[in-house]
Amino acid sequence: MMGLSTLSEWTGRIGELVIGASHAEGGTRSHVVRIGGERDLPYIGTHPSGHKPLVAYELADDPSLWPAAATRYIGDWVHDTADWAAYAEKEYTPDLIRLHLTSTRHRGFSDTSRIGTTIESVLQATRLPLIVEGSDDPAMDSAVYQKIGEAAEGERILLGTAEAGRYRSVAAAAMAYGHSVIAQSPIDINLAKQLNILLRETGLPSDRIAIDPYTGALGYGFEYSYSVMERIRYSALKGDTDLAMPMISSATDSLTVKEVREAQGSEAEKTAVAWELYSMLPATIAGASIVCVRHPLSIAGLKSAIDSLWNGENVEGV
């Protein structure tokens, strides 16, 4: 059975972004991933355009600042970030690892050298391409991003997160050490575009930017995110090059919503996975190239759902 056919004569094309660097390219990744490249909406046609959406598994260097619904299932692995990453790669086979440096969120944090060690150990423990999230405090951005950039030099990581008020350190680290940048805007197409322009003005090439339009949890604003992602994608396909970057979406708040927090017993894991799955699958339909989850069991379901949409399976019954 054929997939859906295109809705419009698009003129634009989404740029391609590469994450990870192989041995030949000076890095140590077993493979590199490419995202973007679409000429049409996601899942359209027998051979959809561009690259298939990927699933990233999110973990944190300080698990005490990570949702209980995510750490509970993983258990003791969370106490060593590198072990956690290696275990997740082997057991749950995500396409990428996204490391959140939650340790930087403690009041008075100053141990940037430990960030460097953490990143180096995670890079050794897993061969998957890496996304790294730095501090969320402008006062320490400069030191933190420089350390991340340096520790991951040569590995072509995706570095987050740049925002309108604080993008310079992230951009500087990306430019100095050859990484790419996640540009996050608060569910607003114009701010997304403006940030991309600001980043370009620092000298960062547009093929090293991924747009994060910010994703609300299902039932807690997801529809706004979905709509903005669609509009960003329409604009890009209609020829707006300032928005023609691949998008990344994370179910950031899904594991802390009331329904997930309060689910008991056997329902607890099921609810957590359902919340992530039903936020992130629609995100790929709205145009996200990378979707991120925190519950390990969400990975397999999400990957298989993406595969079936990508291959045009099950369309007959729809």
């Binding site: 400069s142 420089q146 500087a172 430019m175 100095a176 114009n190 620092t202 000298g203 604009s235 209609k238």
Partner: protein, 676 residues
């Protein structure tokens, strides 16, 4: 006095003969960019004297290439100079430096070369550079001079000692060349790109003290080609060298390269944030008030030459707060003088309008209205915490610099509380207000080649594009053509973009090729054509912010206009809010237009369909607001009697009543050609 031209000429000859005398192989270590300046300029990777000679010839005997080759040759022969001198800086160190530049933790690069007249001069200069977040490189005797007066040098102090001779200044350029290749995407050998990068992006300046020999003068003089200003704090006389007193060197250099230190905290005993903007100060809470009809008050912002404005200076003429009785009304003149290379006279009113916001940002200060109608209050609470009238000046000076960093280099504020002075200055200000009004009023769409767009509302009306012209302000009434122009200058990537008018398609309807092209793109392909002066054919789209809605009333062959404040029904049978719901959201709706109040007063007001003479109805509240200016306009057109022929809700509430009213007053629409 040393002639730079003569010295540089001799220096070039001397460099040339020394270049011819070198031999053997040499190169820099720990870099992927060979001899970076030579590599960037010529594309040649130099590892030996022959290659150096070749590159030198290829560069048309550029002193920078000679200086670099000779420097590398000497370093290879004699070894690096011993610490504290750094000599050539490796790539790894440079990467962190590039990081700090992009990151904004350093604002720019300065080279200081030569022998300062006194150790104090050098120390003062370097302290100023440190305070202004500049990374300073030092070449020559200045380093000795600094260390002897106890100033610590080293990268951690942002004072990098390159070498004992001023010839080490070439390392300053090899740093810029590598930053250009690492961060600026400049390809080796593309000299044009390198020069453009250095000119436009590199925030670099050079300060030269006496003591340079001919070769060194030739070298430094070649920096000018890269757009790096050479500030001479010594007896040098050259066309491109800027002579200053040592005390002015840093300021001059930073101004020339447009490097600005941003203000972060305002030193006043009162919080200052947009969060307080909506907070009013009631009579009982007030310590003192100014203006509001109870005392003379006015505000004025003027652009002045840079030399006449001292940044941050606040002057109070007249009594301070403690000499003014509580609860009374005192005179107040707010005079803000600004300077900036890009600041223009025509921006004055736009910036002046911001006084209103800024004063309201203060937790205990309040401001309404504008020009000589202002009304300002300070609260008792604020005064009890130590706020003085002077603090308003500090607040204004700081906020203007913070919000317009690219436009303003310096802001000084004078506050006048002395009645006699205030009155005299108010009279002068009145003349300036009048001049401004004449200038704005006089502006015609035909006088300009560029309009401005506004896509601020695309957050909720994704395909809506406002086109703002001198005679048609944005439909929200908040942005005039001048505002659009200044907004673009302040934020070139923002929501107000220049729109080239292009060829006229139809002057009557106000359709232009350039405008159509822009609207098509900015509306994401949804809108192909846009008439600026027509309501029937391709009218402009609306977001939802329009001050008024104009619509055609086919039954009476005219237009009506209803403003947002009018809550009742109109002769169309609909209220403002019902109408707004049908025309907003970025759609083109022939027969309807979202407009600003002042567009009604414009000569271009829906001129394609007959303009103001087709206006048959507007609410009394709107007529009251516009009447004075409208009567004036109609008088100029010779149709003064029209004013009484425009109905309002008291004269006609329904379309039938309107029709009979129009007949009873013999409204001109009765004789106009049908709209449909």
């Amino acid at each position: 006095m040393i002639s730079v031209e003569k010295a540089a000429h001799a220096g070039k000859e001397s460099l040339k003969s020394r270049m011819a005398a070198i031999g053997g192989s040499f190169s820099y270590e720990e870099t992927a960019y060979h001899l970076p300046v030579t590599f960037a300029l010529t594309g040649n990777a130099v590892n030996s004297a022959e290659e150096a000679q070749k590159a030198y010839n290829a560069s048309a005997e550029n002193p920078l290439v000679a200086g670099e080759c000779l420097q590398a040759f000497q370093a290879a022969r004699n070894g690096k100079e011993s610490p504290p001198y750094t000599g050539f800086i490796p790539d790894a160190v440079l990467r962190t430096l590039g990081y700090s530049l992009v990151d904004g933790s350093i604002l720019g690069l300065v080279l200081v070369a030569g022998s300062p007249p006194a150790p104090d001069t050098a120390a003062g200069l370097c302290r100023e550079l440190q305070e202004k977040y500049m990374l300073t490189f030092l070449s020559g005797d200045i380093i000795q001079s600094l260390t002897s007066s106890g100033v610590k040098v080293g990268a951690e102090y942002r004072l990098v000692p390159l070498g004992s001779r001023p010839s080490s200044a070439i390392h300053f350029i090899d740093i810029i060349a590598r930053v250009a290749m690492m961060f600026g995407g400049v390809t080796p050998g593309d000299a044009g790109r390198l020069l453009a990068y250095a000119k436009e992006r590199a925030k670099a300046i050079v300060i030269v003290f006496p003591g340079l020999n001919d070769e060194e003068i030739a070298l430094i003089d070649a920096f000018c080609l890269l757009g790096i200003p050479v500030i001479a704090a010594g007896d040098y006389d050259g066309d491109q060298w800027i002579r200053v007193q040592p005390a002015d060197a840093v300021r001059t250099g930073m101004e020339l390269k447009g490097i600005k230190v941003s203000v972060t905290a305002i030193p006043i005993p009162m919080a200052c944030s947009p969060a307080f903007e909506g907070k009013s100060i009631r009579k009982e809470e007030m310590q003192v008030e100014f203006g509001g009809g109870r005392s003379p008050a006015f505000e004025l912002l003027r652009v002045r030459p840079a030399g006449e404005v001292e940044d941050g200076k606040v002057t109070v003429i007249g009594p301070e707060i403690d000499a003014i009785p509580q609860g009374s009304a005192a005179p107040l003149g707010i005079i803000i003088e600004v300077a900036g290379k890009q600041m223009k006279k025509e921006y004055e009113p736009v910036l002046e309008r911001r006084i209103h916001n800024f004063v309201n940002y203060g937790e205990g200060s309040w401001h309404v209205a504008q020009r000589d109608l202002i009304w300002v209050r300070l609260s008792q609470e604020a005064v009890a915490k130590g706020v003085r009238i002077r603090d308003l000046g500090t607040l204004l000076a700081a906020k203007f610099r913070m919000d317009f960093p690219d436009l303003l280099d310096a802001v000084q504020v004078t506050l006048i509380t002395d009645e006699k002075t205030a009155l005299a200055e108010r009279t002068k200000a009145g003349k300036i207000y009048q001049e401004r009004d004449d200038r704005i009023l006089g502006m015609r769409d035909t006088d300009v080649d560029t309009f401005y767009s506004c896509t601020l509302c695309q957050t909720f009306a994704p395909n809506h594009v406002c086109i703002i012209t001198p005679e048609r302000p944005a439909l929200c009434g908040a942005i005039s053509w001048l505002d659009g122009k200044i907004a673009f200058e302040i934020a070139p990537a923002g929501a107000n973009q220049p729109v080239e008018k292009g060829k006229i398609i139809d002057m009557d309807r106000g359709e232009f090729e350039g405008v159509n092209r822009f609207v098509k793109k900015a509306s994401h392909g949804e809108v192909d054509r846009c008439s600026l002066y027509s309501i029937m054919e391709y009218p402009m789209t609306c977001c939802g912010c329009f001050e008024c809605i104009a619509l055609t009333l086919p039954e009476v062959n005219g237009f009506m206009v209803v403003n947002r404040e009018y809550k009742g029904l109109t002769p169309s049978g609909m209220s403002f809010s019902t109408l707004a719901g049908t025309i907003g959201g970025g759609a083109q709706t022939p027969g309807f237009a979202g407009i600003s109040k002042s567009y009604i007063l414009s000569d271009r007001f829906l001129q394609a369909e007959g303009g103001i003479e087709r206006l048959v109805w507007m609410p009394a509240i709107l007529m009251q607001e516009l009447k004075g200016r409208l009567v004036e306009n109609l008088r100029k057109k010779g149709v003064e009697s029209l004013i009484d022929k425009i109905a309002d809700e008291t004269k006609a509430g329904t379309i039938e009543e309107l029709a009979s009213f129009l007949v009873s007053v013999d409204h001109p629409v009765l004789a106009m050609k049908p709209l449909f």
